[in-house]
């Protein structure tokens, strides 16, 4: 094993600046959310960007915040893409995995937007059963 004395001091809590992490600036949750809301808010967003954005977003270890989903649903409205709007709802339900309390919360938060844009949920359409 190593003979250096540093091995003794590897595990006590060290301040962030002293750890062996990269010195890249860590983005806060709010900055992350704001960036994605802005991405989907682009007035002339195209279909490719919508799909790419959603696929990238779904790849992260998180369920998107209601405000990001709201922005994405409005982008679907601008693109006249109801199918993608409903698919987004299916995707976040799947993304929640075993945590069954997330999807009802999201629907609750998005209900005004869903009503305004006339988007039916998969449950409304009977599409949630296999």
């Amino acid at each position: 094993m190593q003979a250096s004395t540093e091995t003794v001091f590897l595990y006590p809590p060290t301040p962030l600046s002293a750890r062996c992490y990269s010195h890249a600036k860590v983005e806060t949750d709010e900055e992350f959310d704001a960036r994605w809301v802005t991405y989907f808010s682009k007035p002339d967003i195209d279909a490719w960007e919508l799909k790419k954005g959603m696929n990238t977003l779904i790849g992260y270890d998180l369920v998107p915040e209601p405000k990001i989903l709201d922005s994405a649903l409005r982008a679907c409205r601008r693109l006249n893409d109801l199918a993608s709007a409903i698919r987004i709802l299916e995707a976040v339900k799947d993304k929640s995995g075993p945590h069954k309390d997330i999807y009802p919360y999201l629907i609750q938060e998005l209900q005004p937007t869903l009503t305004e844009l006339g988007i039916s949920t998969p449950e409304d359409l009977g599409m949630d059963i296999l």
Partner: protein, 76 residues
């Protein structure tokens, strides 16, 4: 009655932080159990068998049983 906001970030990370150490530990236990439950007794059994093995005696037993082609039983 409105729903409270649940945790929505880092759910997989949390699950992995919990389950991966257990998975690694159980794998090591399984490997150790197999090593000490199967392979070591097996090696010991072979060692014990060959400790007192008399090759010449066994050869002569086999010879008398007539299984060889190159050497016939004594007396033929």
């Amino acid at each position: 009655m409105s729903l409270a906001k649940p945790a929505m970030r880092g759910l997989l990370g949390k699950r992995l932080r919990f389950h991966l150490p257990i998975a690694f530990a159980l794998s090591l236990v399984a490997a150790a159990a197999f090593k000490y439950g199967v392979t070591e007794p097996r090696k010991q059994a072979y060692a014990d068998f060959y400790k007192q093995y008399d090759a010449t005696k066994e050869f002569n037993n086999m010879r008398e049983a007539g299984i060889f082609q190159s050497v016939r039983p004594t007396g033929e």
